[in-house]
Symmetry: C2
Subunit: 387 residues, 2 copies
């Protein structure tokens, strides 16, 4: 196990009928006026918006609103939010939505307190020294953003989907009521599950040193996600499975699963380049890219890929190499089973676009640690993913 | 899964050569003068004391010392620490040792800021409104106190070993360098492992609702503890296994494993009464009491006991009841294998003392949730544990 620091000050409030407590949490944190950030209006339909506003009003919290954050959230919306927050002198940001809403809110919370252009924080040209307090109400379990300090935003002018982060951006309080996810369509549930599994992989395969305790956690998260995603595709309304999937997705990227190992985020980087150029859902992109990456790199640590196959898919027969390959195939089969695309062709990417995607991803190359990927490696992985 | 709040602001700094950073962490937290609390001097022998003092001096942190905290720590020592801290106007407490040192330090940190007698905080007659900042350097993995907000102290005048806690008592920073545990004797390693396993059980068996994700974590912790305790009893110097056991023991009681389930702390309560009256090591007491408790209550949730047997000891044959009983037997065998006592008789308890222990534990009855234990139930468990 590598040396590490484990630190996460977010208070996660989990369970049914917890959203109505948001006003009290804001009062306890000394917040008087918030910017509510949300997406395209699903929170109007499922009653979450009304519950939030009622709680704010009952607790005399003033608020203004920024709506219209879209999946693969964009920088222009972040800048709109920063302007609005400054003009209205809010002292906190309340994200109500999924990962795109929370990530945008993190950029707004940091951007309000940053002198330059907020994109500089993504480019590494500036760092977060101060941020507004952030609070979240999660409506789609996937990214883990509700309990971590990072975010991903797309600069649409430059065609870059990049990440940033700071310990100042841990949400103060995150409310996670799994029951509001009952109305999610199957594809969103599946995409969330794929995102969570990918986050686990990115730590799991990113270190060849002894990490038994962490591997136990990783494998446990993946098994839980697989079991309860299957249940939810049978019955979207199953609260038990909504809770298990939600909690597992939070644990997949709240920092714990990431400590003590080097990590390897190559697949996420490639997917970002894919989705910035094609605007496909992040989970769908990962379902395509992750197994292709696995096929390309498994020889770097055959034993670990065999361990995964054995512990997650109970594949116990054959050599380590055979197990490793069967495990990757089983993962791909699972993604197919839950309705995810598993080739680039399926989502409308043309073969002649692969160069362009590879070039975009290669801006940040070398990617990953298990096998540091150069531009040609990225292209090869896209080829494997193509059909 | 029950509704829950997950919150833990402790910064855990884990790995080799981390102790020397303590001074910097204190400076960052604005601390100028600390009370160093430690035990009977093992930190003098293994070099930890010198490293700590050098780091404090390099960072211009003033300090005074309280030594002599013993296992099953006592109230009189806590009161000595409170007096010393007040007289010297320290602004922080630095615990350097195992659970008994950290627990005593928590009571000191709270007691300094409490008007009445600190024991009132254990009796529930008062609550912690303010506390000195607490920092820890862990030298024995067992209790999890380095990353939680509770503690246990014995009031030797009243013969009560009771617990207390407050969110204000999470350590600000806890440093855990597993390499300093290389010199521990086998029985201390084993006792720490048994304590950690018991903490997991206390959540695992305390809830019949769906808790798949948490059960995965629980079972993963126990498997890790079993594997690496065995390794350490072969080679005390194995850093890999020291790290795995240390991290697993922290995760066993840092709050995460305890959320979403009711919990059942009956065994711990009974053990406290046993060890306050007989001054045996907490881990040894748990090795005796826990399997006896399991035998007495398993019928309340046979499926869960069978699941444990299957997932931890790979016992797949027979009815659920048979699996459950075999699992309890396997646990007892493991405790025996690592040199722990498994009967009260072995540790010198006389049969005629069982009444006295049961009476002491029954002060807090009913104990636990799986089967709320009355005085006679406690006596019956002690009878099972006797020989």
């Amino acid at each position: 196990m590598l040396n590490f620091t484990l630190y996460n000050p977010t208070k996660l409030v989990f369970g049914e009928s917890t959203i109505e407590t948001i006003g009290e949490h804001l009062v306890k944190s000394g917040i008087r006026k918030v910017l509510i950030v949300y997406g395209k209006g699903s929170i109007m339909k499922n009653g979450v918006y009304d519950t939030v506003v009622e709680s704010l009003e009952n607790n005399n919290i003033d608020y203004i609103k920024l709506s219209g954050v879209k999946p693969n959230p964009v920088l222009s919306k972040v800048q709109e939010g920063i302007k609005l927050a400054k003009e209205n002198e809010v002292d906190g940001v309340l994200a109500v939505g999924g990962g795109s809403v929370i990530d945008s809110s993190k950029a707004i919370a940091a951007g309000v307190c940053y002198e330059g252009n907020v994109w500089e924080l993504f480019e590494g040209k500036g760092s977060v020294k101060k941020a507004l307090s952030l609070f979240t109400i999660l409506t789609l379990s996937a990214t883990g953003s509700e309990m971590n300090s990072g975010g991903v935003v797309t600069n649409e002018d430059e065609g870059k989907k990049w990440s940033f982060g700071s310990p100042l951006l841990y949400p103060k309080v995150s409310i996670l009521d799994p029951s509001v996810q009952r109305s999610l369509p199957s594809n969103q549930t599946a995409n969330g599950a794929i995102d969570a599994i990918s986050h686990v992989f990115e730590a799991y395969y990113g270190g060849t040193e002894s990490t038994d305790m962490l591997d136990e956690l990783s494998e446990g998260i993946i098994r839980t996600v697989i079991t309860h995603t299957r249940e939810l595709l049978k019955d979207s309304n199953n609260y038990k499975s909504r809770s298990e999937l939600a909690f597992a997705a939070t644990l997949a990227l709240n920092g714990l699963n990431g400590v003590g190992r080097k990590g390897d985020w190559a697949s996420h980087s490639i997917e970002h380049s894919l989705s910035v150029l094609n605007d496909i859902a992040h989970g769908s992109g990962l379902a395509i890219i992750m197994p292709a990456w696995m096929k390309y790199v498994y020889k770097e640590d055959v034993k670990k890929f065999a361990k995964f196959a054995c512990h997650v898919f109970t594949i116990n027969e054959g050599s380590d190499e055979e197990k490793a390959l069967k495990g990757i195939e089983a993962l791909r089969d699972f993604y197919k089973e839950i309705g995810a695309p598993i080739t680039l062709k399926e989502v409308g990417v043309k073969r002649e676009e692969l160069d362009f995607i590879a070039d975009n991803a290669a801006i940040l190359a070398p990617l990953g640690t298990l096998k540091p990927l150069k531009r040609d490696d990225i292209y090869n992985i896209l080829e494997i993913a193509y059909e």
